[in-house]
């Protein structure tokens, strides 16, 4: 795991402050070398030895499965970068404002050669505090980028009032209840808050969202089109839950952008943790439940047109 090259995906709508953040990452003193994959190469000055332009070419597989959709250009570029591994410590992929982050993320799970050598560290989304509300109305990509994010920078906070900012945060939370939110001006942020997050590492899911298990009862954030659905319950029967979650994500995968869960399996001293992108699921038994820690289960799905009642019914049927 540790010798895999970490990849940070930087998304955000045009003008939100991605390039400013990228230049901050590259110029700050941290003793690390980054290979940077950018779009619209050459338009904005980026001062780095290893910068390469990508063409955002999405490959759909012959089987037509949305979850096998990958970014062909990333596969080729990273394969070439890996031949010169000594030259850099990590990779940053900057996407255009119009890009769908799902194929970018899926590339690191679906392509075997890539997943053997690199790992997705986190999807970081930069949003413009002033214009986010408008973008959410007119740009479906902007919604995707928020729903998909592990870390969200609400940038240009100096241009809006505290009330407006609270409204922006509410809108973001409606789309994504577990991403880490940071308020920034000129994308100014401590780099360890955006890099080295291990957001896709099952052992780290709780560190990233410490309040993940705090909320009680069913929770439902709503947006007209995209929503997050979460449920909290007690112990779960793994013999019922595993077939259910597998089938649910196989059938509903195209609608689900991200999923996460922590489960207390009956007679199992360790916690079961899973995370997923569309129908790709990664799950494992993790650290033991601590003494005094409440053994409870929680699942979260972010997606489009999710059938809340059906999910509730399916999940409740797995309870002990």
């Amino acid at each position: 795991m540790s010798d895999k090259i970490p990849v940070t995906v930087l998304t955000g709508y045009l003008g939100a402050g991605k390039t400013t953040l990228l230049n901050r990452i590259l110029t700050e003193e941290h003793g690390k070398k980054y290979a940077v994959i950018v779009n619209e190469f050459g338009e904005v000055g980026i001062d780095n030895d290893l910068v390469v332009g990508a063409d955002e070419e999405v490959f759909e597989m012959n089987n037509g499965c949305i979850c096998c959709t990958v970014r062909g250009d990333l596969i080729r570029i990273i394969e070439n970068l890996m031949k010169r591994r000594g030259k850099f410590d990590a990779i940053i992929v900057e996407t255009t404002g119009l890009a769908d982050p799902a194929p970018v993320a899926q590339t690191f799970f679906v392509d075997e050669d890539l997943s053997a050598r690199s790992r997705l560290d986190a999807v970081v989304t930069v949003v413009d505090a002033k214009w986010l509300a408008d973008r959410l109305k007119d740009a479906p990509e902007a919604k995707n980028q928020i729903a998909f994010a592990d870390v969200i920078l609400i940038n240009k906070t100096d241009l809006v009032s505290e009330e407006a900012l609270a409204q922006v945060e509410k809108q973001i939370r409606a789309l994504n209840p577990y991403a880490k939110l940071h308020r920034t001006v000129k994308s100014n942020i401590e780099l360890d808050k955006v890099l080295g997050r291990n957001a896709f590492d099952l052992d780290r899911i709780l560190d990233i969202a410490p309040d993940f298990l705090d909320e009680s009862g069913a929770h439902h954030h709503h947006d007209d089109e995209m929503q997050s659905v979460s449920f909290t319950a007690g112990e779960v029967d793994p013999d019922k839950f595993m077939p259910w979650i597998n089938e649910f994500t196989q059938v509903e995968g195209p609608k689900i952008l991200r999923s996460k869960g922590i489960l207390a399996f009956k007679d199992e001293p360790r916690r079961f943790v899973f995370q997923g992108v569309h129908m790709i699921l990664d799950g494992d038994l993790q650290r033991p439940w601590r003494d005094g820690e409440k053994r409870q289960s929680k699942i979260v799905f972010i997606g489009r047109a999710l059938d809340r009642d059906a999910i509730k019914k399916g999940f409740e049927a797995c309870l002990v």
């Binding site: 390469v52 070419e57 490959f59 597989m61 062909g72 080729r76 070439n80 031949k83 010169r84 075997e112």
Partner: protein
Amino acid sequence: MSDTPNAASPEFTSLTEHVAPLAAEGHVLHAAFVKNEPVLVLAEGEIVIGERRVAPHRDSGILVAACDRDGIYTGGDDGKIIRTLASGESETLAHEKGKWIDALCVKGDAVAWATGKTVSARDGKGQIKSTVMATTPQGLCFLPKGYRLVIGQYGGVALWFPNVDAAAEKLEWKGAHIDVTVSPDGRFIVTSMQENALHGWRFADKKDMRMTGYPSKTRCFSWSHDGEWLATSGADAAIVWPFQDKDGPMGKAPKELGVRSSKVSSVAFHPKALVVAIGYEDSCVLMCRFTDAAELLVRRASRMDGKISAMAWDEAGRRLLFGTEGGAAGILTLP
């Protein structure tokens, strides 16, 4: 089948004592014999020609390479296409400023390359023609007859005559095609695909053929000297497809040579006999005879050296050159 062939067993013959190690000291991208000199092209930018090391791309890396009898053609992340001779002299043939060279192939004194969505071909007189494709070209190969290029890309392959002012002809097949190869007689075009399969077309009537069952991507092809067999990487044996008949491999099972518990990463048919050199991800190299599947050990597995990333026979078929991702290399001289 055992993991590592037991060199001590009486029926297993080892050639390891006939292998001279070479210090490549870097990811070996390509191996070849040029003017009878062993050549290793390294991803970091150096080219090892016999005892000499040259760096025609200066501080830049080499992304793609191909060789003919007289020269080494390389495309770098400096956007340059450079031809280097066995003497070490080099000449820049083209410069695509600020771009990476994604694919490259040679035939005679012509060279073709791709960068972004553009494919360019340079003939022996130095004339360069370019065309822009709808999707990014991944693999390039000249057809054996005429000055015509096969371009592997998303959705199939395109056939382009650089000297004819007409759109490329398309052979369509859904999915992402990566590398391209053409049978020596020009009858068949074969591509490797993102989804762990090969696709083929019979040139005469464009009939499709699918070759599936690989656990991972095929990234190395080698045709037998008689053009009747195609050896491929990507499985835990060299998968060798029959192409003698007019239907190619359709409806026929491939031969599996050198089955081991490590995946095959490189294959190289002997230039004169039905013998194939097989390189594995654990850096082991075997030589397999086609007729009876007899195996000879060329290099013992050593995981720290990385996978065998390039192999080449000399023209006479007396020497086999190989290199790994980790920078180990060697040359076998047959006794």
